[in-house]
């Protein structure tokens, strides 16, 4: 699975989403070459199913973010096609990316306000989203009055407030300490259960990728490509009480680490 440029061959079981019903994004033989001749992505075939959490892990420079930007429609493929089935897409950055001069409430409403959603409606959606991330009590505060983890949750609330079908997340918890990071990935899964959106989650933490993904896309670099796509042996369940098979997840994490070491 290493070396060849078309490692993730179309038709192999795990490049298809298991959810199946409606695919949110379909990458079909997508490559990206920049003007200076640098190949950021060798051909990639990948789908993100409705309500599926897809985590993407790999070293810096493997084209993870390029893939995410294409899913957001921010970047176009050099060859191949990216089919995007929904416009209800929210993007979450590595940094909270908040307006420092606006309140938490106003920040949560921001995307809806830009889109021209009527005031009452966006206020209701933002209030609900803040409630969901447990930040109703700081709705009137300014970002600088919050901790790093709380700011990230405001960023999550802003993404939720536009009721997305697809969340595109670019290493959203990478700047946080490990403890906060763990709590936030739990929180993301809780929100996913509640709202049922699809997620494309970029990370360079194998543990995080294994914890939240239904499938884990392992990417390699030189050129950026999909090394392998693995189905989680114990994916997050819609039932919050469901037990996860920690031993199987640990084994998967070790397998991915080994793949990354050789890819």
């Amino acid at each position: 699975m290493s070396g060849s440029t078309t490692t993730a061959a179309a038709g192999s079981a795990s490049t298809r989403s298991s959810a199946g019903t409606a695919d949110l994004v379909v990458f079909d033989g997508v490559t990206k070459t920049y003007g200076n001749g640098f190949t950021a992505l060798a051909p990639v075939d990948l789908t993100i199913g409705a309500g599926e959490v897809l985590s993407v892990v790999g070293p810096s420079g493997c084209g993870k973010t390029t893939l995410l930007r294409m899913a957001a429609g921010l970047s176009s493929a050099t060859t191949g096609t990216v089919h995007r089935a929904t416009e209800r897409t929210s993007y979450v950055f590595q940094d909270p990316t908040l307006l420092a001069w606006r309140s938490v409430q106003a920040n949560t409403e921001l995307v809806a306000r830009i889109r021209g959603v009527p005031r009452a409606e966006r206020r209701r959606a933002a209030t609900e989203a803040l409630d969901l991330v447990g930040l109703s009590h700081v709705a009137g505060s300014l970002p600088r009055e919050l901790s790093g983890g709380m700011k990230m949750r405001v960023s999550l609330a802003r993404a939720l407030a536009s009721d997305p079908e697809l969340m595109l997340m670019d290493e959203p918890f990478a700047a946080l300490d490990e403890f906060t990071r763990d709590r936030l990935s739990d929180e993301l899964l809780r929100l996913w259960r509640e709202r049922g959106f699809g997620v494309m989650f970029i990370t360079h933490s194998i543990r995080e990728a294994v914890k939240i993904g239904h499938r884990v896309v392992v990417m390699a670099k030189g050129p950026g490509r999909v090394a392998t796509v693995v189905d989680s042996p114990s994916p997050p369940s819609a039932d919050p009480a469901a037990r996860r098979d920690e031993a199987a997840l640990d084994a998967l994490a070790r397998e991915i680490a080994a793949t990354l070491a050789t890819a």
């Binding site: 940094d95 983890g149 990071r181 995080e208």
Partner: protein, 294 residues
């Protein structure tokens, strides 16, 4: 195998412009006011006393005549009689400088806005802005006297010309250094360029704008006085620049020192007003306007 956290300090607020120039505003006093005040005021006071002592020692020690260098005592002695004569000129200079400053602030801000909005405008205008900045203003002043006549109009324009560049250049830097992710967020949500400008870029640039305004505060007074040097007493109302020229020709050194002090006072008031406005506008959200000990 799990990644270790790479960023050690997630709580540090990453506020816009924190990499920008830090203004030298005086911090607000919050805790132990009396001790803080003493700690803040004592060093500059000691420095002042030392300099004045050295100055007086130099004058007395070498027996310098007052028409060459008056000692601080002679200057302070002259204040009483100089002040009434300086009120009118100071008001004239103040009017020219502040009006010029307001003009420069408005024009500089608008020019920066246009240049940030349209790249072609920046490419087209920037070279001429730099040119305007590099022309020695004192060389243009006589030209302005010919066009506008000797008087306050010329001096106001000179003040504005010298103050416009720092406002425009700093505002432009601020407007263009907006967080890239925020810009991306706006464009993904379908924001128009104008909305993005006023909702995102302008607030983001405010700390830079104020840096420009504080520099311009000093420049505009320099401009007004340079104008007065060249234009003289045209129109019958001489400003501080005119007083300084006449005092110098008559070797009225203590009076000249008082006029110089008055000029810096005019400049200081404007600087203080800008610092105050910045504090009021930005203190709630921006690091640069926070008290030092926070």
């Amino acid at each position: 195998m799990s990644t270790t956290t790479q960023h050690q300090d997630p709580v540090t607020p990453s506020t816009p412009g924190s990499a920008g120039p830090a203004p030298g505003g005086t911090p607000q006093v919050t805790r132990r006011p009396r001790r803080d005040l003493r700690r803040k005021l004592l060093p500059p006071f000691v420095a002042l006393v030392l300099v004045l002592g050295l100055w007086q020692g130099l004058v007395s020690g070498f027996g310098l005549p007052t028409y060459l260098l008056p000692g601080p005592g002679a200057v302070i002695g002259a204040v009483g009689e100089a002040v009434p004569a300086l009120v009118e000129p100071a008001l004239v200079t103040m009017q020219e400088a502040y009006l010029g400053f307001a003009l420069a602030a408005a024009v500089g801000f608008l020019v920066a806005l246009v240049m940030a909005r349209w790249n072609v405008a920046e490419r087209g205008l920037y070279p001429y802005m730099v040119l305007l900045q590099t022309i020695p203003i004192i060389a243009v002043a006589p030209l302005l006297v010919v066009w506008l006549g000797a008087g306050t109009a010329t001096n106001t324009v000179v003040a504005a010309m010298i103050a416009v560049f720092p406002v425009a250049a700093n505002t432009l830097t601020g407007l263009k250094s907006t967080d890239r992710n925020l810009v991306q967020l706006y464009s993904m949500a379908g924001a128009g360029k104008t909305f993005e400008m006023f909702s995102l870029r302008v607030p983001y640039a405010l700390p830079f704008v104020f840096t420009g305004l504080r520099i311009a505060a000093g420049s505009s007074v320099i401009g007004a006085i340079v104008g007065e040097f060249v234009a003289g007493i045209g129109g019958g109302r001489g400003g501080l620049g005119y007083v300084i020229t006449t005092d110098a020709t008559q070797l009225l050194m203590p009076q000249l020192f008082c006029a110089v002090l008055a000029a810096s006072l005019v400049s200081l008031v404007l600087f203080g007003l800008m610092t105050l406005a910045e504090r009021l506008l930005l203190q709630r959200w921006h690091d640069s306007a926070l008290p030092n000990d926070e």
